[in-house]
């Protein structure tokens, strides 16, 4: 193989590499379709947490709420709930605040900032549910 041919081959490899990297990282990057909750975009993680806090107001089951949030893979779930609640308060994200404060309180993370938004405890007992279905 002559030097010219070898040179052409090397130039071709470099061009091909550049195009391949562009295609693989920018144009057609790997698209994940089997992701875990931990990979969820932050805004969806926040939304999921708010939904879990609203679920807590339905079942008043703090353990179930912890279980549901554990899938997010946070190192310390109560810390995470406290941080998100305080962030929502500072951002005046009004619809999400009451349920998040209730969940933070259930996890023992009621801070002075949250006190104002604290919901009164439920007065009527929860409706009975069917056991052992």
């Amino acid at each position: 193989m002559s030097k010219r041919t070898l040179g052409s081959l090397l130039i071709g490899v470099l061009i091909g590499l550049a195009v391949g990297v562009y295609l693989g990282w920018v144009q057609f990057p790997v698209e994940y379709t089997n992701s875990s909750m931990q990979a969820l975009a932050p805004r969806y993680q926040d939304e999921y947490t708010v939904m879990v806090s609203e679920a807590y107001l339905v079942d008043r089951d703090a353990e179930a709420a912890l279980r549901r949030l554990a899938v997010l893979g946070k190192e310390n779930v109560p810390d995470y709930v406290q941080d998100l609640t305080e962030r929502y308060i500072t951002q005046s994200n009004v619809p999400a605040i009451p349920s998040m404060v209730a969940l933070a309180e259930a996890m023992g993370r009621l801070t002075p900032l949250m006190e104002v938004y604290r919901m009164p405890p439920p007065t009527a007992p929860a409706s009975p549910v069917v056991e052992g279905q």
């Binding site: 081959l9 590499l17 990282w25 990057p29 409706s127 549910v129 052992g132």
Partner: protein, 295 residues
């Protein structure tokens, strides 16, 4: 010489093209396999099945709290942009029911929340009506009972003030709703499942929605079959559950004492079900729920 130059030039071009192909392959291998784009900003539709289920449950429970159907729809659409979201919720409820993930009150509330969401939109699944909301509990406030004895005033010239009226009022006691011994057929559903060939599943609930153990169930058939069995005897099943094996082609009537609904005739017709990737002919199965009436 000209021929040699032409051959050399052609060789250069071929080398270039081969080089590009090799480089392209190497580049794609590197970016797709060795060092792919770091997974960030994953949307709900990209979640795996377990995570999707968690997300949908959260949507249903959130809907149970805020009753915001439009928001629930938007959230479900983010999970499954290309399919019927209500049927997806029904399928998840069905899967949870089949896999017996119902262990706590919270799980039951989840099942009710899922069903409330999908049934309001016309979807249906195998968990329909299996987790009924119990009748509301009535709290009666008994009239305060006077506890301190009222004594006549002692004979004296100076007037004595009256004893103060008792103010303590006992806390109201929860009571069961008044019930009757009358039952209605709350639900009848047929399904086709190769693993449950011609199974008649009977469930009896009291007025509060709890399963009732020990209820005699009578099954009769036009061909003279008459069988009686009791709820609550099936190991590992709920207290109000009993089942019966039907024979293909026969029509059955199911009743329990106190049934005020017209008995329903259930025909064990042949149906097509999937088993191990093959279509097999089995017998239709049924679920029938009896519910005690409240006064």
């Amino acid at each position: 010489m000209a021929g040699t130059g032409s051959t050399s030039r052609r060789g250069m071009w071929i080398a270039l093209v081969v080089g590009i192909a090799i480089g392209l392959g190497l580049g794609l291998f590197y970016t797709w396999e060795l060092d792919p784009v770091i997974e960030l900003n994953t949307a709900p539709w990209q979640l795996n099945a377990a995570a999707r289920e968690d997300y949908v449950i959260a949507v249903a429970m959130s809907y149970a709290y805020n009753n915001d159907l439009a928001r629930a729809f938007d959230r479900l659409r983010a999970v499954a942009p290309d399919r019927d979201v209500w049927q997806m919720v029904a399928d998840i409820a069905c899967e949870r029911h089949k896999s017996i993930q119902i262990a706590s009150n919270s799980d039951i509330l989840v099942m009710r929340a899922l069903e409330r969401l999908y049934r309001s939109q016309g979807a249906s699944g195998c968990a329909d009506g299996l987790y009924p909301t119990p009748a509301p509990v009535v709290f009666l406030s008994p009239t305060p009972v006077q506890t301190a004895p009222v004594l006549p005033p002692p004979p004296t010239k100076t007037p004595v003030p009256d004893l103060p009226a008792p103010t303590a009022s006992p806390a109201p006691l929860p009571t069961d709703p008044p019930t009757t011994d009358r039952y209605i057929i709350a639900r009848v559903e047929s399904y086709c499942d190769a693993s449950r060939d011609g199974l008649l599943e009977v469930r009896v609930f009291d007025a509060r929605g709890q399963g009732v153990r020990g209820v005699p169930v009578l099954v009769t058939s036009g061909t003279g079959v008459r069988d009686q069995f009791f709820t609550g005897l099936k190991p590992g099943r709920e207290p109000g559950y009993a089942d019966f094996q039907m024979e293909q082609g026969r029509a059955y009537q199911v009743s329990i004492p106190g049934l005020v609904s017209d008995p329903r005739s259930l025909t064990a017709e042949p149906c097509q079900a999937q088993s191990g990737g093959e279509t097999v002919t089995v017998t239709t199965s049924y679920r029938i729920n009896f519910q005690q009436q409240a006064n």
